[in-house]
């Protein structure tokens, strides 16, 4: 037998421990591989969606004004030299659509996209999951997203009625089902694509042509751009494929990075498991190593023996992890596709991701194996063979290498991270990971005092078994500490996600509340003259005040450039009286007075930060091509009305919007109910009016819930990843407890001989595991909260203006989860302990 065979035999002799450890590494590698692949799938999907949306067009000319392009402009665009083909697209953000009236009538709010079927064939390729494409001869045919149709039980041939259409306009019917590609991927699938000529004639006010995609002859892009500047009289913006990718990718910014970080965390937990297992092996086999050393085995040979075990665990774990990773990636992608939380494609073939996951898995496992291996090589034969020898279990000796391991894991992540990083703050994210891992190490140090306190209720509940279970935690503080730490990392991730999610939700609720005075609003499909439609809104039953909001685009003039901004004209008195808008800077009274006096604006914080604007600064705003008009910044608000730009709308008075920009219509009306009207009654009245106007009713509650739901869909995925880290931690508990039980076999036999029943032995081991879980859960609450604080206040402060919102119920649930998971993990070792034959353990040998 070669010496190396002892390494394999060392693993084979403890098959359960080896399997659990390899599984821990495999799960870590799997999460890394899966998150990288899912990230790649998301990136690919954005790129593909942008390409599909632009088709063979190189340029998208987008109308600046909400009224869109006139037919004359479209004709001009078609005739520009160098333009081979042009496809005009009309778009209406939301329109209420119903199925045939009757008891089964369904009402949807859909994005309307109008295209010219003949032009589309030259520019874009449509992937259909069923039915046929639009036919020039049948202008009432529409395409809907196949997934959306399935969810809403809409089939080919079903009628769809656009609310607000003119009386003589016929119903539409579904002719085809779009796959989740191209237009089909927009609006989370809630859309209809139909003939633009139909949309142009269906309503009193035609749906505006929002953009025209131009297929340009090769090498003529610059000429075409020059022609656009020279020929177009209406304001426009030119976008390229890169712009489209940027816009689509905004929603998924940070996903890939966050997913990768979770993979790193899972792998770090796996590394804890490996380090612990090999340290246990070393403790068990020290005497055997002493014998080998006494028989002439060199330190280098012993080092090689342990490293071989590390390599074996790494390779088994990494290979298993890749297989698991592909499965996990498929599940993640399927989840994201079904929840529509993210634009995501199919499972990508991404060898680099698999390679990176394998390399990370092997490196981290070997790093974890290295120090036990070095310690084994340093074992002195005399010391190892001394009869009174006790295994070295001091904390000080093992902490430095653990710290080194953590640093190595973070460093590896740092090197690999930019591959998939989104737009989140790298230092903040890494700080969060460092807190997770550092916190786990701190748990190792503080385990004893923590277990002494946390274990009291368990000792009281379980009696002698709880007392002994608590005492058992003192036996090998480092081993137990690492086990608790590994569990705490996974649970802390759940806590951090919960707090971040809850804070984001609170921010969303605060945002929605602050921009909707009274909590109710109606968004019109088509803007209408304020004074014409005002009586309709003021006539709603129970309305105290109806305030219009005029939304229009403008440009902010800087020294030698101009930037697109969105402006909202509001009624300052309505917003002031209802306590809406949260002022970040400036006096509320002075700010609203400034709006009423004219020449003043309120700007959102994000815009102030982007442009370095402060109170009292002058901002020049203009219509495209028009003269700049100076406005003084009278206040900075935490949130403003949402716009297509990320910063939110600049707020001015309706009077300034009318007098300085000539805007006399409004697209949004906010409605304040009378004090004594029940919410349900008023809500119904608002919904009825919205239906009459084919408009969209909105309540702050619905908006906040919708934001919360989209958040939950994404957070839910990360929760699954965090729970995988908890599973790895649980494997660690099984491992540690099983080893502990074997080591304590004789002690358990003595307890049994003094009358401890098998059930009491089980209870003792489960109590020990429960205390581990309780300490892990409580530590996780602390660590996770710290991670959330870092995320909320440092990593992404712009996304959490509402500050920290603590989900107390979740925190309690995590502690209970810790206890539950650990107790479950303790069942197997407990059963093993209870079934050990007493007499075998009492034999007369040392």
């Amino acid at each position: 037998m070669r010496l190396a065979a002892i390494a394999w035999r060392g693993l084979a002799v403890r098959p359960l421990r080896t399997a659990l450890t390899a599984m821990g590494v495999a799960l870590g590698v799997a999460v890394i591989a899966a998150s990288l692949m899912a990230g790649q799938a998301a990136t690919d999907a954005v790129r593909r969606a942008a390409q599909e949306l632009l088709g063979s067009a190189q340029l998208r000319v987008r109308a600046f004004e909400t009224a869109g392009f006139t037919p004359r402009t479209i004709t001009t665009l078609r005739k520009i030299s160098g333009v081979n083909n042009a496809a005009a697209v009309s778009e209406e953000r939301v329109r209420s659509v119903t199925t045939n009236p009757g008891p089964d009538e369904k009402v949807f709010t859909l994005l309307l996209i109008g295209v010219d079927p003949a032009d589309e064939a030259l520019i874009r390729t449509y992937e259909l999951a069923g039915g046929s494409f639009l036919d020039d001869g049948d202008p009432t045919g529409v395409l809907v997203n196949a997934g959306w149709a399935r969810e809403n039980d809409v089939q080919i041939g079903d009628a769809l009625l656009l609310n607000g259409r003119r009386a003589e306009v016929p119903a539409n019917h579904v002719v085809g089902l779009l796959a989740d590609t191209g237009f089909g991927a927009l609006g989370a699938g809630a859309l209809v694509v139909l003939d633009r000529s139909f949309l142009a004639e269906a309503f009193e006010v035609p749906v505006a042509v929002r953009y025209v995609d131009l297929q340009v002859a090769e090498g003529r892009e610059a000429d075409v751009q020059a022609s656009l500047d020279a020929l177009l009289t209406e304001p426009f913006v030119v976008e390229t494929l890169a712009d489209a990718e940027r816009q689509l990718g905004r929603a998924q910014a940070g996903f890939s990075g966050l997913a990768f970080l979770f993979g790193l965390v899972a792998l770090a937990v796996g590394a804890f498991l490996v380090a612990n297992t090999l340290a246990m092996t070393l403790a068990e086999r020290t005497r055997e190593i002493g014998l080998l050393r006494a028989a002439g085995t060199t330190s280098r040979q012993v080092l090689g023996l342990f490293l071989r075990q590390g390599i074996a665990l790494a390779v088994i774990g990494a290979v298993g992890g890749v297989v698991l990773g592909v499965v996990l990636a498929s599940l993640m992608i399927a989840f994201l596709q079904s929840s529509r939380a993210l634009l995501i494609g199919g499972l990508p073939f991404h060898p680099l991701a698999l390679l990176l996951a394998v390399v990370l898995g092997v490196v981290v496992t070997l790093a974890a194996a290295l120090v036990p291996a070095l310690a084994a090589a340093r074992v002195s034969p005399l010391d190892a063979l001394r009869p009174s020898r006790q295994p070295g279990r001091t904390l000080g000796g093992r902490l430095p290498w653990l710290a080194g391991l953590v640093i190595a894991a973070v460093a590896i992540g740092l090197v690999a991270y930019p591959l998939q990083r989104g737009e989140s703050s790298l230092p903040g994210a890494l700080l969060a990971v460092a807190i997770l891992l550092g916190g786990a190490l701190l748990v190792t140090v503080l385990l004893q005092p923590a277990a002494a306190i946390v274990g009291r209720p368990f000792a009281a509940f379980f009696g002698a078994q709880g007392y002994l279970g608590r005492a058992n935690l003192r036996r090998d503080p480092v081993r137990t500490g690492l086990t608790v730490g590994a569990l705490a990392i996974g649970l802390a991730s759940v806590v951090a996600l919960g707090i971040v999610s809850s804070s984001a939700r609170a921010t969303a609720e605060r945002w929605v509340d602050s921009i909707l005075p009274g909590g109710y609003a109606i968004r019109l499909a088509v803007t209408d003259e304020i004074e014409t439609i005002r009586p309709t809104f003021e006539g709603i039953i129970g309305v105290e005040r109806a305030s219009p909001i005029s939304e229009f685009p403008a440009v902010e003039l800087a020294r030698d450039s101009q930037r697109e901004v969105a402006i909202a004209g509001i009624d300052p008195t309505a917003f002031q009286d209802s306590g809406s808008l949260i002022m970040s800077e400036g006096s509320r009274r002075i700010a609203f007075q400034g709006l009423r006096d004219g020449g003043s604006i309120l700007i959102p914080e994000a815009l102030a930060a982007r442009d370095g604007l402060a109170l009292g600064d002058i901002v020049d705003l203009a219509q495209p091509g028009g003269e700049g008009q100076p406005f003084r910044v009278a206040g900075i608000v935490a949130y403003s009305l949402p716009t297509t730009t990320a910063e939110g709308a600049i707020l001015m008075s309706l009077a300034d919007a009318r007098d300085r920009f000539g805007v006399t219509d409004a697209s949004l009306w906010v409605l304040e109910p009378e004090d004594d009207i029940p919410d349900a009654t008023f809500g119904n009245a608002v919904a009825a009016t919205a239906a009459e106007l084919s408009a969209l009713p909105m309540t702050s509650t619905d908006l906040a819930s919708e934001l919360g739901r989209s958040l939950d869909r994404l957070i839910g995925l990360f929760d699954v990843l965090a729970l995988l880290a908890v599973v790895i931690g649980a494997l660690g508990i099984v491992n540690t407890m099983a080893v502990g039980v074997v080591e304590r076999g004789r002690e358990i036999a003595i307890l049994r001989s003094h009358g401890m029943t098998a059930g009491q032995v089980q209870a003792m081991v489960v109590a020990e595991a429960s205390i581990i879980g309780a300490v892990g859960g409580l530590a996780a609450v602390g660590i996770g909260t710290l991670v959330a604080v870092v995320t909320v206040f440092f990593a992404a402060p712009g996304d959490f203006v509402g500050g920290l919102a603590m989900p107390w119920g979740l925190l309690l649930a995590v502690v209970l989860l810790g206890i539950g998971v650990a107790s479950a993990a303790g069942i197997f070792p407990a059963r093993a302990a209870a079934s050990m034959p007493i007499t075998e353990q009492l034999r007369h040998f040392e």
Partner: protein, 248 residues
């Protein structure tokens, strides 16, 4: 004196890959209340197996063990364990103590296992520590005690619930002569003064000489029963002569 422990035709077979090995071959014995009985034999003779069966730590393949009127061989594991807790006390050769518990807690272990608290039995624990001469060391950890002191703690623990029988398996096997003698004196003293029934397993004639009666075991059977009577001098010579006569 009434019989406190009775074994009837005990057989213990251990299965092997091919066939089985018989460790005990129909052993019967009885121990009277307050009697000090030693079981002697060479390594592999079956003496420890016999002690494990007598104490209810293991089940016989056939035969019965009756402790203080309870047929322990017919009880399920749970009830057998509780009977063991109430009626027996054990002292082993090695690793007798729970290292995480201090001396007082180790002595109180049978009470703790029964669901009582240490405070409920403080007087009894003090009394036992006094008996084994460790009154000042109640708060010490096992690793702060010598081997002899650890074995005294184990003896105090075995006596704690006032068991019907105390079973000791080579309790002096890991101790030097002087310390071992101290432990044997304590055992004899508890028998003499407290009327404690004791079954001692040993291969040492010097230790067996403390007993009232010695059962000699060979190849899983009781070869002979040597009645020594209660003697304060513990003289081993008469026993050694009888053993020599048996060819041991």
């Amino acid at each position: 004196m009434p019989v406190i422990l009775e074994a009837r035709d005990l057989v213990k077979r251990y299965p092997l890959r091919s066939g089985s090995v018989e460790a005990l071959r129909g052993v019967s014995l009885s121990v009277a209340q307050g009697e000090f009985v030693a079981i002697m034999g060479t390594s592999g003779s079956g003496k420890s197996t016999m002690l494990h069966l007598l104490g209810g730590l293991d089940r016989p393949t056939s035969g019965e063990v009756v402790i203080d009127g309870v047929n322990i061989s017919r009880l399920d594991d749970e009830r057998a364990t509780i009977t063991r807790r109430q009626k027996t006390g054990f002292v082993f050769q090695f690793f007798n103590l729970i290292p995480l518990l201090n001396v007082a807690e180790n002595v109180a272990l049978p009470f703790l296992i029964a669901g009582d608290s240490l405070a409920d039995h403080r007087d009894r624990i003090d009394e036992l520590l006094d008996l084994v001469g460790l009154s000042g060391k109640a708060g010490h950890r096992p690793d702060q005690l010598s081997a002899g002191e650890q074995q005294r703690v184990a003896l105090a623990r075995a006596l704690a619930p006032s068991p019907a029988i105390l079973l000791a398996d080579e309790p002096t096997g890991n101790l030097d002569y002087t310390t071992g003698s101290e432990i044997l004196h304590l055992l004899w003293d508890s028998c003499e003064r407290l009327g404690q029934t004791i079954v001692l397993v040993t291969h040492d004639a010097g230790a067996a000489a403390y007993a009232d009666r010695v059962l000699v075991v060979r190849d899983g059977e009781i070869l002979d029963s040597i009645d020594l009577g209660r003697r304060a001098d513990h003289e081993a010579r008469p026993l050694i002569l009888r053993l020599a006569a048996l060819g041991l």
